[in-house]
Every structure is written in structure tokens, then in C-alpha cells.
């Protein structure tokens, strides 16, 4: 891999880390009720492939912080209990704040992009 490509890939990794949690909460809010493997599939479809070893610890923290609620359900035929996640009221408020911050950041970036094109 060339140095430039490695640099770009590294930047992409860093920036994705920054908005992964925001996108994760957006997915859970949209789906209302969803479990880990499904979340991974949705993120992959969105062009944000995420490692399982990254996702589950984040879900664990968000649940401990009261941002997400979780409930175990066992599917009769297979018997694998699955942990379903949903947004709490506190989580919805946090998501609203993240949304505002993200929008503000995007506006600043777009302003700079316009100036660079002048």
C-alpha cells in the first residue's frame, strides 16, 4: 500500500470512529428494536462495515449509560437467546444533541469547502 493510500485509509478509520456511535443510534431508532447481528448487517449495507468486536462493547456501554434499553428474547426453534436493543428517552435526547452537533459541523465544513472552491 502506498504511503498516500495508507494515510487516507487511516484518516477514514479515524473519522468513522467519530461518527459510528451517532450512526448506530440512528439505526436503532429507525429500526425501533434490533439485535447485534442485524445491526452489523445494516451498518454494512450503509457502507460502514464494523467489526463485531467493536460493536458489542459499544452497545454494552450505551446500555450501561442508559442510552439504550435491552431485552433478551429466545427464538423457539433455534434456542439462541438474542439481545434486542431499543432507544430510551435519555437516548433519544442524546441523539437529538448529536444530530444538532453533526449538522453544525457539516455546515462549517461546507462553508470551508465553498471558500476553497472560490
Amino acid at each position: 500500500m502506498s504511503i498516500e493510500l495508507a494515510r487516507t485509509e487511516n484518516w477514514k478509520t479515524q473519522i468513522r470512529k467519530g461518527y459510528l456511535e451517532f450512526v448506530l443510534l440512528l439505526v436503532i431508532r429507525y429500526e425501533e428494536r434490533i439485535y447485534g447481528l442485524e445491526i452489523l448487517e445494516k451498518l454494512k449495507d450503509l457502507g460502514l462495515p464494523t467489526k463485531e468486536g467493536t460493536l458489542y462493547p459499544i452497545l454494552n456501554r450505551l446500555t450501561a449509560d442508559g442510552v439504550l434499553a435491552s431485552v433478551w428474547e429466545t427464538e423457539g426453534a433455534k434456542g439462541h437467546p438474542r439481545k434486542f436493543y431499543s432507544m430510551t428517552k435519555s437516548g433519544l435526547k442524546l441523539l437529538e444533541q448529536m444530530d444538532e452537533e453533526f449538522s453544525s459541523m457539516m455546515r462549517s465544513v461546507q462553508r470551508l469547502q465553498r471558500k476553497n472552491k472560490e
Binding site: E52, Y56, I58, R61, H80, K83
Partner: protein, 308 residues
């Protein structure tokens, strides 16, 4: 199921290693994590039989690494893998070399003593033996060989904005280098008048969610006079420079990385002060113990806070 037994044994071995690394969590939390990972591996292996349990475990990563991610996310200390003797001695060698380098840097820094000199009488802050020189009385800032406040003014910009108290709650100003003076306006208009030196890179007044933002970038520094209506809270962020705030009745937050703040309290307002100067001096302010005290927060990296 018998052909899957070796793979299920791999799964159980993996989960046992994972559980061992999660001993700093509670029993119930550990059980939930193990159950969820087991469920994930079996589900993923069912969906993609070509991968199987071993493939899913490989994708998950080493159990020690996964466990440490859980612990780090929760602010707990990650578990350390045991180090071999070669690694141990390499670490000792590296740390020793680093220690020698730190001592060398400290010796070099001591050549710039005093690191920071605050002359209250002359109203001046001198850092690193004069590398940065802020003269509050003359209103001059010098960084290295560059005078940011010369007598030659290059340009000026100004603006006003009508403030509606129900719509606007805070004014924030963000500046790289320069001098700002902020005082209350006599009406409901926010106004600013700035002289700049060098090239004006960016100057932008925007509004979002009740906050009015003024962002300024100028290579030679800026000298601004700002008037804000009484209904607005104030936030100021300056990289290098001087800030002068007087008679503001609402909450104030000022952050200066290097420089000086002069704050003149409004005579009839009771304030609750939260002030920190990492390196420098700070005058004492009378903080109100009342619940209704107006919150005021100052954060200075290197410099001083004076009473106006």
C-alpha cells in the same frame, strides 16, 4: 450435531478466555456479555455455514482484545498479556532512553528561564524568555519575530445583528490571535467592529439553535470591539491574545490558551467564579455563595486573569 462438536469446543474455549479477561466486571454483566457473544457466533455461523464457528471467531478477534475493548469502553483498566523477557528488557531500554531525552529537554527549557514571567505593574506576560510577548498596556502581541499588532492596520470589518431574547440565548466568539473588548450594548443589537492585520482568512457570523457565532481568522491578528445585548450569555475562545470583558450581567465563559483576561464585574451583579490558570497568575474575585449567582468560568492556559 456431532460433526460440529470440535467447533463448539472452540467456541467454549474462546468464551472461557473471554470470561477470564472480564473478571473486573460484575458476575451478571460478564454472564450477559458471554451469552451475547455466544448467541452472535452461533447465529452468524448458521447464516453462513461456509464460515462456520471458527470463521466467526476469527472475525471476532482474539478474546483478550475483545475483552479489553469492553473494559476500555466502560472506563476500566484493560488486562495486560504477560510479557516475555525480550519485550521486558526492550521496554526498560526504551523507557531509559526516553527518560534521558526528557532530562535533556528540561535542561534546554531551563535555558529559557523564566519559563513564564508575569509583570503585573507593566501589564505584560512574557513566555519562554520572550518567544511570546503580550503587552497588555500597549495592546501589542509578538510571537517569535512576528509582530501581530503593528501600527499598520490592513483592513476593517464590522457587523450588527438584532437580537430577539426568545430566539437568541448566547453569543460565542472564536478567534485565533488578537484582542477583544466586550461590553454591553444600549439596545437589542449585537455589534462588532474589528481591525485586522495581514490577510483576513475567515470572518463569519452564523446562528444555530439559539447561539450566535462569530468566527474570525486573520494571519496578523485582530482587534475587535464588541457590544452585546444584556439578554445574551457570552462565550469567548482565543488561542493567543487579550480579552477584556466588562459589565456583563449574564453568564460568561472565557478560554484563552495563551494571554490575558481582564474581567470587570457589573457592580450590582453577584457572580459565581470558576477560574483556572494553568501557568500564570490570577487575582482574587469575590464569588457569591448564593444559588442565584451568575456562573462565570475562566480557563487560561498560560497567562493571567486580572480584575478590571
Amino acid at each position: 450435531m456431532s460433526e460440529k462438536n470440535p467447533q463448539n469446543q472452540d467456541l467454549e474455549n474462546y468464551l472461557a478466555r473471554l470470561e477470564k479477561c472480564l473478571m473486573s466486571t460484575s458476575v451478571s454483566e460478564r454472564a450477559e456479555i458471554i451469552t451475547e457473544i455466544r448467541s452472535h457466533v452461533l447465529d452468524a455461523a448458521d447464516r453462513d455455514p461456509t464460515q462456520g464457528v471458527r470463521g466467526v471467531l476469527a472475525s471476532l478477534g482474539e478474546p483478550e482484545v475483545v475483552a479489553n475493548r469492553y473494559l476500555l469502553e466502560r472506563g476500566l483498566k484493560p488486562s495486560k498479556p504477560p510479557k516475555g523477557p525480550v519485550v521486558k528488557w526492550l521496554t526498560i531500554g526504551f523507557v531509559s532512553t526516553f527518560g534521558i531525552a526528557v532530562v535533556a529537554v528540561l535542561i534546554l527549557l531551563s535555558m529559557f528561564t523564566p519559563l513564564i514571567k508575569v509583570d503585573e505593574k507593566a501589564n505584560r506576560v512574557v513566555i519562554l524568555g520572550g518567544v511570546i510577548d503580550i503587552d497588555g498596556d500597549a495592546g501589542k502581541i509578538r510571537i517569535g519575530d512576528t509582530n501581530l499588532h503593528s501600527d499598520k492596520e490592513k483592513g476593517k470589518f464590522e457587523g450588527t445583528k438584532k437580537i430577539t431574547p426568545s430566539k437568541h440565548r448566547e453569543f460565542r466568539i472564536d478567534m485565533e490571535v488578537g484582542k477583544i473588548k466586550i461590553a454591553p450594548s444600549i439596545d437589542d443589537r449585537l455589534s462588532f467592529e474589528c481591525n485586522y492585520r495581514g490577510k483576513l482568512a475567515d470572518h463569519d457570523l452564523s446562528e444555530s439553535n439559539g447561539v450566535v457565532d462569530l468566527h474570525i481568522e486573520a494571519s496578523g491578528g485582530v482587534d475587535c470591539n464588541v457590544k452585546i445585548p444584556e439578554s445574551l450569555d457570552l462565550g469567548v475562545r482565543v488561542e493567543t491574545g487579550t480579552v477584556n470583558v466588562s459589565d456583563i450581567k449574564r453568564s460568561v465563559s472565557v478560554e484563552i490558551e495563551t494571554g490575558e483576561l481582564t474581567f470587570k464585574p457589573e457592580t450590582k451583579t453577584k457572580y459565581k467564579y470558576d477560574a483556572t490558570v494553568r501557568t500564570g497568575t490570577i487575582e482574587s474575585f469575590d464569588s457569591s455563595s448564593s444559588q442565584n449567582g451568575v456562573p462565570v468560568q475562566f480557563r487560561i492556559g498560560v497567562g493571567k486573569i486580572s480584575k478590571g
